[in-house]
Every structure is written in C-alpha cells, then in structure tokens.
C-alpha cells in the first residue's frame, strides 16, 4: 500500500509524466505523452492493480526502448494490454512506468523503476516534494505531547561546511 501511495504521489507531483511506449507491431514505434494533473487523468490514480510491487528483475531488458503487447483495438486508438515505458531521466532520478490499457483507456499506471543515482536494486524513491501549507494546517490543532524546534546550526559549523566544500572542489 505504501508503495502504491508513493507511486501515486510521484505521478501527481511530477505533474507531467512522459511515457514512451510501443503500440502494436514491433516496427511501429510511437511516442505518446500522457499528461496527468494531480492524478485527475483517467486511471492514473487507480489503486486496483495487483502485483504492482516490482521485483528487482522487473526492469532488466526493458530499460532501453519499450515493450508491450496488446490484443484488441478500440476507437481511442489504444490497444488493450500492458506496456512498459522507456526509462526516463528526471531531476529525481530515472523513472520507468508500466501502463495498463483496458477497453481503450488507461486503467493503471505503476512504477517499475524509480531508481536513485547509485543504481541500487529497484525500489521506490523517497524524495521531498512541495507541499502546501494548508495541507499541514489541520495537524496543528492535534493535541501534542512534545514540541520539536530547531537547534540552530552555528556560524562555525556553516563555515566548516564551506571549508570542506572548498577542499572538495580544489
């Protein structure tokens, strides 16, 4: 469930998700852009998928280009089936998704690769995305047992960091 939630938020916070996939015959490669906006796109925020947690082997062999298989074509031009998009570079790292088309519509988008720069085994990346102040306001009225505030980083500490960075770049 956590992975699903993370994947959904990834899609929502990226705003625009570019997915290149191959439709139909092996020779006809089409790049299609799927635009989602806060999860309002058709099917992009669905949570009905089973087996959405990918194993580390899931992306091997699919990272270059895209793979997919389809069956029935409908009026939308999308062929039913499951398609694995190409691996895209984003500022958050590489992203690769699997799209399920059913009845001519995208019914599910799952992340199969959200790697970090160290190329660890495939797992959902964790990163801090912008959050509106109004999203946290409600929590302010919760009854708290403790209050956590900053211990301020000292001038000396920041200067130390600067010197370390200077050494690192010299």
């Amino acid at each position: 469930m956590r992975k699903r939630a993370v994947a959904a938020s990834v899609l929502a916070s990226m705003g625009i998700l570019t997915v290149g996939w191959q439709i139909g015959a092996a020779t006809a490669v089409t790049t299609t852009t799927v635009t989602t906006s806060g999860g309002t796109g058709s099917g992009t925020s669905g949570t009905s998928s089973s087996g959405s947690s990918s194993s580390s082997g899931a992306t091997s062999g699919t990272s270059s280009g895209a793979t997919g298989s389809g069956t029935a074509t409908t009026g939308t031009g999308l062929t039913d089936g499951t398609y694995t998009g190409s691996s895209e570079q984003t500022r958050f790292g590489n992203v690769q998704v699997k799209v399920t088309v059913s009845g001519g519509k995208i019914t599910d988008v799952t992340a199969v690769q959200l790697t970090d720069r160290e190329q660890r085994s495939v797992q959902i990346s964790n990163y801090a995305a912008p959050i509106l102040r109004q999203e946290v306001i409600a929590s302010q009225s919760a009854s708290v047992s403790n209050v956590n505030g900053a211990t301020y980083t000292t001038e000396g500490y920041l200067a130390s960091v600067q010197s370390a960075l200077d050494q690192a770049t010299s």
Binding site: N126, S139, S145, N148, G156
Partner: protein, 247 residues
C-alpha cells in the same frame, strides 16, 4: 511523569508513562554528564578540549572518544562533507554525534529498566518509545521558524519511526551570507528509526541544501519536512502520512 534537567548546555526533558516502572533518573543523568565531561568544548578539562589544546593525542584517547570520532568521520564521508567533525580552525567538534549517542544510550537505560512508554527530548532532538496518553501514538508539534511561538504542524511517531530531529538556520544573517552559504532551508526536520541518523541528516540538509536533501532521501530511510527561505514547504510521502489528525 516528566523529569527535566540541564546538561550539555541544553535542557533534557524525559516523560515516562505513570504506568511504567520508575525511570532510573540518576543513571540517565550520568549518561549525559559523562558525555559532557568527555566531549564539551566549553570545559577546558574535557578530554576533547585537552586533545584540541594539544595536551594529548587522539590516538591515546579513550575508546568512547575514538568511537565518536570514527562515527562522525563515517558520516562526513557518507554526506560528502555536509556533516563534518572538524571545524575550520582544525579543532575537533563531536557535538554533532555526541548528543544523539547520549540519547541513544539513555534510551537503552530506559528500555533495560522496563520503561515502555516514554519520550526523551534534548534540544531539537526527540526519541520516543511506545505510546502516549490514552494509548495513542506520540504526537509532536514542530515549531514554525517564522513564528517560534506557533506550531507549523504536528506529526505522529509510530514504531519503528522513533526518532526526530529539527535543525535550522536562525535567520538569513550576514555571517551566513559571508560564509558563501545562502541557506536554502530555514528549518529541516528528519524522522528516522534512530536518533543519530535523524540528527546528522537534519544538520547535513541544512548545511548542504537541496542536493543534500535529495541524496539523503535516496540513501536513507527517512521522512523529511523542509521549510525554505521563503517559508515554502517540502515533505516526503512518509512525512505527509505521519501528519497528526486532530481528535
């Protein structure tokens, strides 16, 4: 039952459930007092001060001091220098790990004494165990850096997310700009399974900015909230999920 005492130049606040056995307060105070005696830079007679003064060698230092130094050095490597135990003047400053180590040790003392539901707050760090009043998760408010009398938000700490640290730049003061470091974050809160990781990474992200934030979120299992210089917020999915829900 809350027990408050002053040590290491800050205030320690320990809150233990009334249902738990009495906390071994003397022992816990000694954990912090020992750390202070060994690592304080404000005491000329501390072991670290003697080393910094050239009176004794690091190689001859106590095992505790060498271990703290090794730990801090490890974190310097892991954070690409954003966290460092060495000051610009070459002196060793192990405060970055010593407070968290003392909190960890105090937590072990409480666990060993059979205390199950407690919180330990030292400066901007918090370590929690079990549950708060009414069997609900511990809820901790995070101070709004723009108005330190107000809360920015409140989050729940659930096992194994027991540790939380908040670090900040006091203001966009001249000294910071002069150091060539325009602070990207006024305040950074890191929630982790252990207090050392939370403490070190909160400090490292304040010092290293967005690149350090990205690296930290990728490499460590942490939840983070940042407050930017224009008061804008960023949060990881885990942090959002932990936001407290008012009763």
């Amino acid at each position: 039952m809350r027990h408050v005492f002053v040590t290491m130049g800050t205030v320690v606040s320990l809150d233990v459930s009334a249902a738990d056995p009495a906390a071994p307060l003397e022992l816990i105070e000694r954990v912090f007092a020992d750390a202070d005696a060994r690592f304080s830079l404000y005491r000329d007679d501390s072991e670290l001060s003697r080393i910094n003064a050239g009176g004794s060698a690091l190689l001859d230092a106590s095992q505790e001091l060498r271990e703290a130094y090794e730990l801090a050095s490890d974190w310097r490597v892991r954070t690409s220098g954003a966290f460092t135990p060495t000051r610009p003047d070459g002196l060793l400053d192990l405060n970055g790990v010593v407070k968290a180590l003392a909190m960890h040790d105090a937590g072990c003392v409480l666990d060993a004494a059979g205390c199950r539901d407690w919180t330990l707050v030292v400066g901007g760090d918090l370590l929690a165990s079990g549950f708060g009043p009414g069997g609900a998760p511990w809820v901790t408010g995070i101070v709004d850096p723009a108005d330190r009398t107000a809360l920015l938000c409140a989050i729940e700490l659930r096992d194994p997310r027991r540790a939380m640290a908040t670090s900040g730049t006091a203001e966009r003061g001249d000294h910071i700009w002069m150091a060539g470091m325009a602070p990207e974050y006024l305040q950074v809160t890191v929630v982790a399974d252990d207090i050392l990781t939370a403490d070190v990474l909160a400090t490292a992200i304040v010092a290293g900015g967005e690149s350090m934030l990205r690296a930290a979120c990728e490499r460590w299992d942490i939840d983070v909230l940042t407050v930017g210089s224009a008061a804008e917020l960023t949060a990881t999915p885990g942090f959002r999920a932990a936001l407290a829900v008012p009763a």
